[in-house]
Amino acid sequence: MEIQELNDLSPLRVFDDSLGGGLGRGNLGVLVSRHGVGKTACLVHLATDKLLRSEHVIHVSFSGNVEHVINWYKEVFREVSNGRSLDDAASVYNNILSNRVVMNFSQENVTIDKVLSSLETLIKHGSFKADAILFDGYKLTVATEDDVKKIKQFALDMNLEVWFSVSPVRADVVYDKYGVPNTMMKYVNLIDVLIGLIYNEERDKVIMTIVKSPNSAFEKPMGVNLDPKTMLISK
């Protein structure tokens, strides 16, 4: 199968449709759930889909090991390309690699100003025309309102999409039926899209629900969910 066809058939098209055509530049999107539900995989799948459509992405991580992130990309790409028997997968992978940069901050409590200035440096001095930035494991639930506003401004200035994967830091949070923790609610007005992920035992799927989006005031199911085996977004 060719890339074009693979992209057309991708479950991510359904994902975008249910958001009324994707997140859109200048907007902030959040994937939220408990730990270990598969947010990182989901985020990497989002990024891989963008890469396959020739977009440039920056993956921001806060772990000690960049290798792990890179392995996630390898794994997700393999699942996606094997599932659709993509033509010449190895060279496609090598080509899309040049459109991805992993930016890692291993130091604890790095300020958002620092992160944004490094991103700006990369985009300007590194001539890397990013279309989307993915924050993996950013502690949004403890960020201040100001921090989130700065990120929003950055997304507008640079004209790019920003996605977050978020898990609550504290142990005593309460989750609603969509998997959204109560600590998240105070940010709802600052972000544009909020998607909750929760594991449903009966269906053996991770259910994805749009809790907030610009064109709908009510919660609605996404039409896609996360397969717990492959950890990929699927129809």
Binding site: V66, A90, V101, N104, S106, Q107, S118, H125
Partner: protein, 702 residues
């Protein structure tokens, strides 16, 4: 004869500038091999004892792995000082092959760096048990705990702290030994540098106990005995040491020790650690390949009474003549013994047998099992196996990477030309990653190696050691050629010039092989015979294969070998009188050239995996410098004040990068690189390369 129990063969390897040579120097000092300490870049101009080559002293780097023998507490330790620069990795690999254990030196500030990762990967390949030594704990920003965490996270090692520091940075006083629960200070004795045991300072006691618990937990995961003893609360020092030793040798655990070589702290404890946790030659299984029995693996027991098997792992042309460093794996060798070189199939007698100390030597009558010694005047190449004439064993071949860079050299006069020949002959024997040949087209002597510095060092050595003054050309990258699509060929080779003619027709196609999946070897060439009905007789099929192989040696775009290609013949024609082996070879060669042009050929260039480290304020300049060099930034990590950028950059763009990096970062940045893969050269660049190639050919033909 030394008892195997009391022998260790160890290596010391690490990232450049982590202080290996200083550490080795201190070990020599404490083992009473030298009487005073000279710094690597000391002001006294004597230099460190291990860096015996003049050039090494000048540059403050260690090139050749000098083997040295010391004694610590009745145990003989053979130390191989290994180079840290990535261009000289072959030296590291060779020394690892003969080691039973290693000390991985890490800088307490910089932590696990790219070179540490490379070295660690090599150690894994050769199953070398290791101890980690966190050096430079006296430096500003030192943090051994962070280094231990990195060993776990970045290298995936089960690194366990056996010590904690007493004070850090300029307040470093000593370490707490978590096994004996004693504080170790290094200010005892007359010279104020001997080890002194004392009680743990009160303010550190709680922390030491907590860290000891963590250490016990990790070690007990590898040892049931210790687990039981912990439950019964009968843990003894000996039991603990035995458990750590077993786990270390089984590669399940890496003990972490610390100190500062420069400040003489922690060295004695490290030596004790080498004795306690690294294996003796008898505890390591060594294997050889039996060449008479289809390369079947045979185990070499460390038994002195068996016939000898010896590996020559390093050649050196010193002031005393040719020296061959050897390791005895089985049996023992005596002066006058007859040995058989299984590569050259030659027999020789053991002449002078010596043991090397950093700069002087000691004569031996025999070398026993597990020992490292050196022979004089033996004609061989490094990596050769010598054994009893009864055997035909070869110690497994060592992994040799292919050179990525070449340089044309021209001697200045007749005398230099003679000397240059001698030097090249010697260097290519010493170092398998260094090659030299004469280009038949330009008649120039070309040397090839692993990087700019690698070749530079050899050019310097030619000048100094062989008085061969040479002019050097521009360094050249080892390009490759490839095709991107299938193309058919149908070529008839016909010649009728009196006498017997030549006739052959070959038809078929060439196609690119799919890109290798990561980690897989690049396949260079596959030949497929799809002839049906005998349109080319079987006897001429190998001729076609040969013809193609000749053709791929030199692609038609820039004259470099063609990679990743499949040649298929499916039709042809022959003539009972005029067809010959030669005719089919020529036909295949020309058929290939014809099809190659149609197959949209491209040029490939070596892409280097580059790691650049500099203070964060230079991040923008780093990004820009990589971007200007057609590099792709893979990742960037910020850790406190430092920023590390990993990128894939074409080798051709990396020439002179060290100079520009220095000026970009006010001398605070450093970088390392190694070959990662071959990648396509972009259009603009490849047009230029083709033009240059055509011009060069014209010039050479004149």
């Amino acid at each position: 004869m030394a008892d195997l129990q009391h022998m260790r063969n160890i290596g010391i390897s690490a990232h450049i500038d982590s202080g290996k040579t200083t550490l080795t120097e201190r070990i020599l000092y404490y083992c009473n091999k030298i009487h005073e300490i000279h710094e690597v870049r000391g002001k006294d101009g004597v230099g460190a004892t291990m860096d015996s080559m003049e050039l090494e002293r000048e540059r403050g780097i260690t090139i050749a792995s000098a083997a040295t023998n010391v004694t610590w507490k009745d145990t003989e330790i053979n130390i191989i000082d290994t180079p840290g620069h990535v261009d000289f990795t072959i030296e590291v690999e060779r020394s690892l092959r003969v080691l039973d254990g290693a000390v991985l030196v890490l800088c307490s500030v910089a932590g696990v760096q790219s070179q540490s990762i490379t070295v660690d990967r090599q150690m894994k390949r050769y199953h070398v048990p290791r101890i980690a030594f966190v050096n430079k704990c006296d430096r500003t920003g030192a943090n051994p705990y962070r280094v231990q965490k990195q060993l776990v996270e970045k290298l995936g090692l089960n690194a366990v702290l056996l010590q904690i520091p007493i004070g850090l940075e300029d307040k470093l006083e000593g370490v707490v030994d978590l096994i004996t629960m004693k504080a170790l200070y290094f200010d005892g004795g007359e010279s104020m540098d001997q080890m002194r045991e004392a009680e743990i300072p009160a303010e550190l006691l709680a922390e030491a106990q907590a860290k000891r618990e963590i250490m016990l937990d990790s070690v007990s995961m590898c040892s049931d005995e210790l687990m039981e003893a912990m439950l019964e609360d009968t843990v003894t020092e000996d039991l603990l040491r035995t458990a750590i030793r077993k786990a270390t040798i089984a590669l399940e655990l890496v003990p972490v020790l610390m100190g500062s070589a420069y400040k003489n702290k922690g060295i004695q404890a490290l030596l004790n650690g080498v004795l306690s946790y690294l294996p003796n030659p008898g505890e390591v299984t060594n294997k050889a390949l039996d060449l008479d029995n289809n390369e079947k693996e045979v185990i070499l027991p460390s038994d002195e009474n068996l016939p000898p098997v010896v590996l020559a792992f390093k050649l050196e042309d010193g002031q005393y003549g040719q020296l061959t460093y050897i390791r005895v794996y089985q049996g023992k060798i005596k002066k006058g013994d007859e040995l058989y070189n299984t590569r050259s199939h030659k027999k020789f007698r053991v002449g002078r047998l010596i043991r090397m100390h950093a700069a002087d030597m000691e004569d031996l009558n025999e070398a026993g099992c597990g020992e490292i010694a050196a022979l004089f005047g033996i004609e061989c190449a490094s990596g050769d196996t010598f054994c009893d004439p009864k055997f035909n064993y070869s110690l497994s071949s060592m992994f040799v990477p292919t050179p990525v860079i070449s340089l044309a050299i021209k001697p200045v006069d007749k005398k230099a030309a003679d000397n240059m020949g001698k030097a090249l002959n010697r260097f290519t024997k010493e170092d398998p990653t260094f090659r030299s040949f004469v280009d038949p087209e330009s008649n120039q002597t070309i040397i090839q190696g692993m990087g700019e510095l690698h070749l530079e060092v050899y050019v310097e050595r030619m000048k100094r050691e062989y008085k061969a003054e040479v002019e050097i050309g521009q360094p050249e990258v080892a390009y490759r050629e490839a095709i991107t699509q299938r193309a058919d060929f149908n070529y008839t080779h016909k010649k009728q010039t009196g006498g017997s003619g030549q006739y052959a027709r070959v038809a078929g196609y060439i196609e690119p092989l799919p890109d290798p999946v990561e980690g897989e070897e690049v396949k260079e060439y596959i030949f497929t015979d799809e002839i049906k009905g005998g349109s080319i007789p079987t006897e001429y099929i190998p001729s076609c294969d040969k013809g193609f192989q000749m053709a791929i040696k030199k692609g038609s775009q820039v004259g470099f070998p063609v990679l990743g290609i499949r040649c298929v013949v499916n039709d042809g024609a022959w003539h009972p009188v005029d067809s010959s082996d030669q005719a089919f070879q020529t036909a295949a060669l020309n058929a290939f050239r014809e099809a190659f042009e149609k197959a949209k050929p491209v040029i490939l260039e070596p892409i280097m995996k580059v790691e650049v480290v500099a203070p964060t304020e230079f991040q923008g300049s780093l990004f820009a410098s990589i971007n200007q060099r057609r590099g792709i930034i893979i990742s960037s990590t910020e850790d406190h004040a430092m920023c590390t950028v990993y990128a894939d950059v074409p080798l051709s763009e990396m020439f002179g990068y060290s100079t520009s990096l220095r000026s970009l970062t006010q001398g605070k940045g450093e970088f390392t690189m190694e070959i990662s893969k071959y990648g396509r050269v972009p259009m603009g660049v490849s047009e230029q390369l083709k033009k240059d190639y055509i011009e060069k050919r014209k010039k050479d033909q004149k």
